[in-house]
Each structure stands twice: as structure tokens, then as C-alpha cells.
């Protein structure tokens, strides 16, 4: 039995799945001021007629860290940054205690100038005076050589927590590394308090299963691992829906997922059945991060999007002014328009009629016409956004002639539609796109299902420089010597082995250790007219997907 719980903006959903499918599900209102409260409610409700000790795995997707960051309920962080020349690092300043320390490492990982010790000491002193307890330490090109980050970190023995840049991601991107390390430290204490409370709640309920946390890339990490990388828990909601859709449908081709809720519509894409991943990482609160995520886009169109008439133009969203009139709201919405058109017969259809007739009276356009135009408007927005996203994916830069000529082109012809109003809009969407539209069963709790069945994911970058006889796997903290005749094949083997060891160490089941090599390049390095070594880069992952045991139990 697998328990999945997804804390959403409005509702918190929980499901329990076993070999017969979804055997329990619940939906409670999210209590933003105290997430523990709604989580406990949902857990109690869903476990009512289930023996908690039979649960094998608990997966949790929460908005805790996201909200803390958006609402600025973060702890003060001492941010120590060593940038060296380039874009002025002050542009990347974040938080109230941002310190620049002179020092430089270049793109090959060569230490050009040492860290400025006196600046560092001064910064540390200031933090101590202000009683700063958590830190983020980031240097430019630390994924090529972490020595500056390590040096600063060991100068902070009294810290409660230090978020070290290169351990968060192997990617290059100094500004994102700074923001990611900062957020990671800023939510660390809050997250850890919360995770202890969750574990306690589950224990009290009698559930002894290991707990995992859902990430924005649609994978999970074991809760104990997440304690040092809490930033990985941000913005996991859309990913939960994507994985849920994969669990409910047999997706093998290019496809689009639309998760239509009350206020918004999330769009995601599948290429040959695999969800597309954002190139660098997700954006939060206007800052780009290195937190890996699925490629999703949220637009302001949903079932409760308010209809607006101005002159002769009828629009809907992005505003939401409460529920539809059919449900007792006071402004006509997309749902009311569908009621008026007779597409659906949802709750109190007469109230929907009333709402649109009021608009008719005010603007001199027939209610039916307004309803039609509002739906057309909403569908056009969705259509245009989907097309723009496909276009964006297909025009992603490529760096080899091979990829340029033979690269994958996304051509979806199927839409998987989930979320509350999914069923009601299926026909309209099918018509607008001229594509096949599939609405899976349980689609209203696809998010919680996704959380329940998501497998653990990890991605690593391996960087080898045979001239310097160095191999680095930044986010696994590997930094070893390699022979000068080391090859790309060796690097691929090592990448696989390091990944295997890591997955084993965090308790990932053997069947879930499916490793995929995403990129493997080897460049001859030449100086003068002589080869001096190889510059090797391997990127591999366990790709987001469904737990083996859950693979086929829910499919249509």
C-alpha cells in the first residue's frame, strides 16, 4: 500500500493505492497558517479504514517551503559569495547579510586568486554579532573546483547549518547557485521542524513506512536526505499532477497534459511518454534556481475564471472572484457559461442563467452569445499557450550538428485532461485542438496519486579533466584523482557506479535504479598544436516516473 498526500493551494488531497487501485481517497481544505493541521486531517481521514502498518511508503508533496519563501517567512542567512571578475556579483545579492569575498576560480577550475581571509573574518564576525545561525556559501565555478566553498564552510564551525553551493547541483550557473543555496539555508530550520512533526504524526497514527518528499522534477527523495536539501521540496505541486497522469494513463507518445483547476490551468508536455524537464531549474519569487523541475506552465484560466464584458469584447480570467454562480458565487464564470450553453448541467443551472442574463441586460449582448464568447476566449488562450510551449521546446538551442539535423521534434496529438472541471471541458478542448482528448478516471485526485507512486530521482553531472587528472561529481561531493588516459567510457561507467552507490545508500529499491545517460561529451583539449588531455562531461539521471510496483495498476 502506498500513501500519497498533496498539499495544494486550496485543497489537500490524500490517496491510498494498492494492487487493486485507489482504495481510499480524501480531500480537505488546506490550512495555510498551519499545514500540519490539514495534513493530519487528511492522514486521519484516509487511514480511517486502513491498517496503517500495511503502508509501505508515504510520499508527501507540500507547499511549506514554497509558501515560506513567497511570504518571506525565512530565517536570516549569512551569504558568503566569492565571484571574481565577470558580471558584477552585487547584482546577485540576496538577503540582508550578503558578503562578497575576493577570490577567483576560472572555467577550468584553476584557482586564480586565493580567498581574501580578512574579508572573510570580518564577515564572519558580523554574522556572529547578529547571531546568524545558518549560512549559504557559494563561489563561481565551484562545480569545477569546490575549494573556495569548502574553505569558507570549514571557517564556520559554529553554524547550525551551511548550505554549500556545489552540493546542490552540478550545473553551471552562479546566480542560480547563490539563490538556491540561500533558499536552502533560509527554509532549513522551518522545514526540519515540520518534517519531525510529520514523522511524529505518522508514528502516532501507526504508520511506520519510510517517508519521501516530492520534488518539482516529479521524483521523490527520502525525508532524511531532504533535511539538508529542503529547497528541493519547492513547487512540487504541478509535478504531482504530471506523475499522476502518467500513472493513470498509458502515455507512450508525445502528449500534452492540461490540469485545469478553479483558477488556473497547468500545462506540461511529454516526449515519447517521458515528461519534459526544464533546462536549468525552476523560478521562484522572481529568482531563478538550480532546483530541477518538470517543464510546466501555469496560466490564469480555470473553471472559476470570472467572465468580463467590456464593450463588445468578452474575456475570462485571469481573475477569480469566488466560485461559479451555480455553486453560490456572485460572479458568472466559465462553469456558468458551460451551464448556459447546455454543455453541462452543474449544480444550480438557473443561477448561471441569472448571472449571464444580468450581463446581457448590462451590455446588450445575448447571454448565450456571451457564454459562447467566454468559452472561445478561454479555449483560445489555452490553445495559444500550448502551441507557444511546443514551439519553445522545438526551438530549444542545440549544440551539435547531429542534434540540429536529427534532433527530436515534439508533435503531440493527444491531450490528457485532469483536474476538477476536466470532464466538462473535454469536448470543447478536443474541438479547439482537433486532437484526441483523454480524461482519466480519478482525475480529480491525480495529484495525490502522482505523489503516491512517484519514484526517487537523482541527477548528477560528472566532470573529468584528464590534463589535471581530476574527476568531480559536485552534488555527490566526489573529487578524486583519475589517470591521464581516462576515457569517456570510463566516465560513463563511473557516473553509473556513483549513481548506483548513492541510490543504494539512500535506500532506493534495486528495481528503481534505472539510470539514463542524458549527455556524454568528450572534448580533446589542445594547447599549441598538441593534445593535452580530455575534457569530459557526463550528465545522468534516474528519470521521473512511476514506482515499478504501481506501474500498471491504475492505467485506463
Amino acid at each position: 500500500m502506498y500513501l500519497g498526500l498533496d498539499v495544494g493551494g486550496t485543497h489537500t488531497d490524500a490517496v491510498i493505492i494498492d494492487k487493486n487501485g485507489v482504495i481510499a481517497q480524501t480531500k480537505v481544505v488546506t490550512t495555510h497558517h498551519n499545514l500540519l493541521e490539514c495534513i493530519n486531517h487528511a492522514l486521519q481521514a484516509v487511514l480511517k479504514s486502513i491498517e496503517p502498518s500495511h503502508i509501505k511508503r508515504v510520499n508527501l508533496s507540500t507547499t511549506l517551503t514554497t509558501n515560506a519563501i513567497i511570504e518571506n517567512k525565512c530565517e536570516e542567512v549569512g551569504v558568503f559569495v566569492s565571484g571574481g571578475p565577470g558580471i558584477n556579483p552585487l547584482h546577485h545579492a540576496i538577503g540582508n547579510y550578503f558578503f562578497l569575498i575576493d577570490g577567483q576560480i576560472d572555467h577550468r577550475g584553476t584557482e586564480i586568486t586565493l580567498l581574501n581571509n580578512s574579508q572573510l573574518e570580518k564577515a564572519i564576525k558580523k554574522c556572529r554579532k547578529k547571531d546568524i545561525r545558518v549560512f549559504a556559501v557559494v563561489s563561481k565555478f565551484s562545480t569545477r573546483n569546490p575549494v573556495h566553498e569548502q574553505y569558507i564552510a570549514q571557517k564556520l564551525p559554529h553554524a547550525d547549518f551551511i548550505s554549500v553551493g556545489h552540493t546542490l547541483s552540478g550545473n553551471l550557473n552562479f546566480p542560480r547557485r547563490i539563490a538556491t543555496a540561500y533558499y536552502n539555508a533560509a527554509v532549513w530550520r522551518l522545514y526540519n521542524t515540520f518534517s519531525h512533526a510529520i514523522e511524529e504524526s505518522l508514528r502516532e497514527l501507526g504508520a511506520i513506512a519510510p517517508v519521501n518528499i516530492l520534488k518539482a522534477d516529479g521524483g521523490t527523495i527520502p525525508l532524511p536526505v531532504s533535511r539538508t536539501i529542503p529547497v528541493e521540496s519547492i513547487l512540487s505541486g504541478p509535478a504531482a499532477s504530471v506523475i499522476g497522469t502518467m500513472a493513470l494513463c498509458n502515455i507512450t507518445h508525445d502528449a500534452v497534459m492540461l490540469d485545469i483547476g478553479g483558477t488556473s490551468c497547468d500545462i506540461a508536455m511529454f516526449a515519447d511518454g517521458a515528461p519534459l524537464i526544464e533546462k536549468d531549474g525552476i523560478q521562484l519569487n522572481g529568482r531563478n534556481t538550480l532546483v530541477r523541475s518538470l517543464k510546466t506552465k501555469s496560466i490564469g484560466i480555470g473553471g472559476d475564471s470570472a467572465i468580463q464584458v467590456e464593450g463588445i469584447s468578452v474575456t475570462a480570467g485571469p481573475r477569480r472572484l469566488g466560485m461559479s454562480m451555480a455553486e453560490g458565487g456572485s460572479n458568472p464564470t466559465i462553469i456558468d457559461a458551460l451551464n448556459v450553453l447546455g454543455t453541462i448541467h452543474f449544480k444550480d443551472t438557473s443561477r448561471s442563467q441569472e448571472g449571464l442574463q444580468a450581463l446581457e441586460k448590462k451590455h446588450g449582448i445575448q447571454a448565450h452569445e456571451i457564454a459562447q464568447q467566454a468559452i472561445t476566449y478561454a479555449l483560445d488562450i489555452i490553445y495559444n499557450e500550448v502551441m507557444a510551449m511546443i514551439d519553445e521546446v522545438n526551438s530549444r538551442p542545440v549544440y551539435t550538428i547531429h542534434e540540429f539535423l536529427k534532433g527530436k521534434v515534439l508533435k503531440p496529438k493527444t491531450i490528457y485532461l485532469i483536474g476538477g472541471p476536466a470532464k466538462t471541458l473535454a469536448n470543447n478542448i478536443a474541438q479547439r485542438f482537433g486532437w484526441n482528448v483523454i480524461v482519466p478516471q480519478h482525475c480529480e485526485v491525480a495529484n495525490a496519486i502522482g505523489a503516491a507512486v512517484a519514484r526517487t530521482t537523482v541527477d548528477i553531472e560528472v566532470f573529468a579533466d584528464t590534463q589535471r587528472c581530476r574527476l568531480l561529481v559536485p552534488n555527490l561531493n566526489v573529487n578524486i584523482r583519475i589517470p591521464y588516459d581516462y576515457t569517456l567510457d570510463n566516465a560513463i561507467d563511473d557516473a553509473t557506479n556513483y549513481m548506483m552507490q548513492y541510490l543504494e545508500s539512500i535506500g532506493v529499491d534495486e528495481r528503481e535504479r534505472e539510470i539514463e545517460i542524458l549527455q556524454a561529451y568528450s572534448f580533446n583539449m589542445v594547447e599549441g598544436f598538441e593534445t593535452t588531455g580530455k575534457n569530459i562531461r557526463v550528465h545522468c539521471q534516474v528519470k521521473p516516473g512511476i514506482l515499478h510496483q504501481c506501474k500498471d495498476i491504475l492505467k485506463l
Binding site: 572555467h107 565555478f141 540540429f404 561529451y521
Partner: protein
């Protein structure tokens, strides 16, 4: 950070293509540049976006070049993508998707001349010229300036626009007496129909930032102001850098950025530059920031502070004098000259060596002296890889006389068997045919 000018970067490093594994033009060339741009988060800056190149069609190439025996024999896909990268950069600006663009592509192109038998100076196809001709065919742009800041004289671009008064070609380079390809002296000023729209500034070895910026101030900017181009293109070679292995100049990343800001080009295209670790990452960062109108003052090379790049007084004096001479010659071009009567052909005999492919070419180039248009162009060419071939170009906005003359030349050529291949470029009717 928000870019003052939105910038489209067409980045195509061709990580799977090299002339040969140890050649400067190899897979590794833009690797560290990409690392630097990624690490700096350049593509996250609001207003700077990365774009995928287009691929140039054979028509795009034949609109610009005479290729013998044909386009596919003298190009590979990498050349078509590199040229397509410049076309993408152009359409981004012309369609107003961005304010400015930078085609950071390889292989380069500025040594490729009007006639192509193979590769010279690492270039097969002149990617700037392919872009310029694409622009002129598809957009109502009349006057274009190309400012070439590569250390080597852009003899290919000069050759293509030698007779074109609507394209101003200015090259700043290391003096040809000290570096490949040897051309680019100050007396090279353009053909009889286009005198003064080719300008060369052959700088002495060891010119530093000071000298380059002086040439910008005293020659490039005044002539640009005079010419009033609708569009400015920068052939942004980066081998004037002090660390470049195959040249002898002392230009820095900061200097390149400053030059970029002064020039204020609409489109930049990467050309040479082979200090792939010590220069390119920083120069490309500097150019990108400068084009976007962002602060570049913190950009410099790791060893910049240890270097003394002050320019010797003698060199400064020499460059001052050089600038005066170039301006004097430029002014002289404005005076009317009657070397040849309109309606006659002006003939040049050229011997061209293709160093990269080891080909020798002999050319007889005839241009119709014309006051109405650029003049019909006829090139007879033979090389160590091709028997005698003929290229005929009826220029853009050709006058009726030159148009008629072009077809007369074609008829004569096709009625005999003197030429193995004949290529016609008819810009008036957009016809590009190989016979």
C-alpha cells in the same frame, strides 16, 4: 538585471565538427565560452535570449557566392548551419523580435571570397555576406556597414563588396605585412563603381586597447557617420586578444567590450579567435554585455591585472599618423575620377591561394563601369580543382543595360563549351542558376 537593448544570441558551437582534431577550428573552440556564459547566468538576464540557428539553403549561398563545381561540393552541413545562424540573427533584428543580435557560431567566414573553390583561412562560406544578401533580398534595407574587428584582414568580405557602393566595409586588422592573409593595405579602397566604400586600417603588431579605440574614434566612427548605414554589422573576430596564439596584438576583453559599445552594431557575428581558454570566454562575455547595454566593467581575464598592456609611445604615434592617412585617402575618394568611361569593363587579374585546402585559383574579374547601378560582374575562374568556370552577377537593382548585358554574357557562354560550369546570379529576378 535587465538589458537596455534586448539581445538575441544565436549560439551554435558545433560540438561535433572540426577541420581536423588538432586544428584551431575544432570542437573545443566555444566550449569554455559556453561554460562562462552559463556560469555567469547570461541567458537568465531579462532581455537576453538564446536562439537556435536556421540552416541556410543552397539559394542563400548561391545568391552570394559563385560555388564551383557546386554548393554541396564546397560546403558541409556545419557551414550551412553557421550561415543559417547569421540569417537567424538577421531576422531576429529585422523582424523586431530583439533590438540586437549576436551570432556566436562557427565555422567563420570572412576569408571566403565571391568565388568559392574550397576553404581558405578556415572559411568556406562568407557568413556575413550570406546574411547581408539575405537581408537585402527580404527587407527594404539599402545601406549596410560591415566593421570587421578580426585580427586578420577580411579579404573575403572585401572581395565580395569591392564593387558594391551600398555596403561599406571597414577592417581593422594586424598589418598584412606581418600576418595572414597579407592584404588590407590603406590603398585598397574599392572598385571603380564603389571607391571609398572599402576602408582598411592596418594596425601595427602590439597595438593595445588605446590604439584600437583611437582607430574607432578617428576613422571608423567618422566614416560611419558619413555613410549613414541603415544597419551596422560587426565581424567580431577575437584574435586581436593579447593571448591569441596566432597573432601579435594586445587587445583585451575590456577593450573589446568598449569597442562594441562605441560601434553600437545591430548585429555581431563571431569570426576568428583561437585563444579559446584565455580570451574567448571573457571577450564573448564582454561583447554580449556591451551589446545588451549592461555594465561590463568587472569583466576581465584572469591574468589581466598581472599584464602590462600599456601601448608603446612609438606605436601610438604610428597609429595616429595611420588614421590621418586613411582619412585623407577616404576624402580623396569623394572627388570625381574618370578612369574609365561608363559602359566599359574594368578588369582585374587575381591569383588566390586557399591555404586550408591547398588550392590555387586564377581569376579574371570584369566589372561593367556603371553610373546607374553596381554594374554587371563577370568572373572567369580556374583552379587546381576546377577547370575554367564562369560566374555572372546581375546586381541588385541592376539597370536595364547591365541586366541585358548579363544575359548576353550568359548566352555567349552557354553557346560555346569554353566553361565547365557557369553560374548566374540574377538579383533582379531572384534567379540563382548553375549551368
Amino acid at each position: 538585471m535587465k538589458a537596455k537593448h534586448t539581445l538575441g544570441v544565436v549560439f551554435f558551437p558545433a560540438f561535433d565538427w572540426a577541420i581536423h582534431p588538432l586544428h584551431p577550428e575544432r570542437e573545443e573552440r566555444l566550449l569554455y565560452t559556453l561554460d562562462q556564459l552559463n556560469e555567469e547566468g547570461v541567458f537568465d538576464i531579462d532581455g537576453i535570449n538564446q536562439f537556435k540557428p536556421d540552416i541556410a539553403s543552397h539559394d542563400d549561398i548561391m545568391r552570394t557566392h559563385f560555388c564551383f563545381p557546386d554548393v554541396s561540393k564546397v560546403t558541409t552541413e556545419s557551414h550551412l548551419i553557421s550561415a543559417g545562424g547569421t540569417i537567424k540573427a538577421a531576422t531576429l533584428v529585422m523582424d523586431k523580435i530583439v533590438n540586437k543580435s549576436f551570432a556566436l557560431v562557427r565555422p567563420p567566414g570572412h576569408h571566403a571570397m565571391k568565388v568559392v573553390h574550397g576553404a581558405r583561412g578556415f572559411c568556406n562560406i562568407n557568413i556575413e555576406a550570406v546574411m547581408v544578401e539575405y537581408i537585402r533580398e527580404n527587407y527594404p534595407v539599402k545601406k549596410i556597414a560591415i566593421v570587421d574587428t578580426d585580427c586578420h584582414h577580411g579579404d573575403g568580405t572585401q572581395d565580395i563588396y569591392w564593387h558594391d557602393k551600398d555596403v561599406l566595409y571597414i577592417s581593422m586588422h594586424q598589418d598584412g605585412r606581418t600576418l595572414y592573409p597579407g592584404t588590407g593595405a590603406i590603398h585598397e579602397l574599392g572598385g571603380p563603381n564603389a571607391l571609398g566604400t572599402t576602408i582598411n586600417i592596418p594596425l601595427p603588431p602590439n597595438t593595445s586597447d588605446e590604439g584600437f579605440l583611437m582607430a574607432m574614434d578617428r576613422v571608423v566612427l567618422p566614416i560611419l557617420k558619413d555613410f549613414k548605414p541603415d544597419l551596422i554589422i560587426n565581424s567580431a573576430g577575437q584574435d586581436n586578444h593579447y593571448s591569441d596564439p596566432i597573432t601579435n596584438m594586445n587587445f583585451s576583453a575590456l577593450g573589446y567590450a568598449r569597442l562594441t559599445q562605441m560601434l553600437n552594431a545591430d548585429i555581431a557575428v563571431l569570426e576568428g579567435g583561437y585563444s579559446i581558454q584565455g580570451a574567448l570566454p571573457y571577450v564573448n562575455l564582454g561583447i554580449t554585455l556591451a551589446m545588451a547595454g549592461l555594465d561590463y566593467s568587472y569583466v576581465h581575464e584572469p591574468d589581466y591585472l598581472q599584464k602590462d598592456l600599456t601601448q608603446e609611445k612609438e606605436i601610438t604615434k604610428y597609429i595616429k599618423k595611420l588614421c590621418d592617412q586613411v582619412m585623407k585617402r577616404y576624402e580623396e575618394c569623394k572627388k570625381p575620377s574618370f578612369k574609365l568611361m561608363p559602359g566599359n569593363y574594368d578588369v582585374r587579374k587575381k591569383e588566390i591561394y586557399y591555404d586550408t585546402d591547398n588550392i590555387r585559383e586564377m581569376q579574371l574579374e570584369s566589372i561593367m563601369v556603371c553610373q546607374e547601378c553596381r554594374g554587371v560582374l563577370k568572373i572567369e575562374t580556374t583552379s587546381t580543382v576546377n577547370p575554367l568556370c564562369l560566374g555572372i552577377e546581375i546586381p541588385l537593382n541592376a539597370c536595364d543595360r547591365c541586366q541585358k548585358e548579363g544575359y548576353r554574357l550568359l548566352d555567349t557562354a552557354l553557346s560555346g563549351d569554353r566553361y565547365k560550369h557557369v553560374q548566374l546570379i540574377d538579383r533582379r529576378n531572384k534567379k540563382y542558376v548553375l549551368y
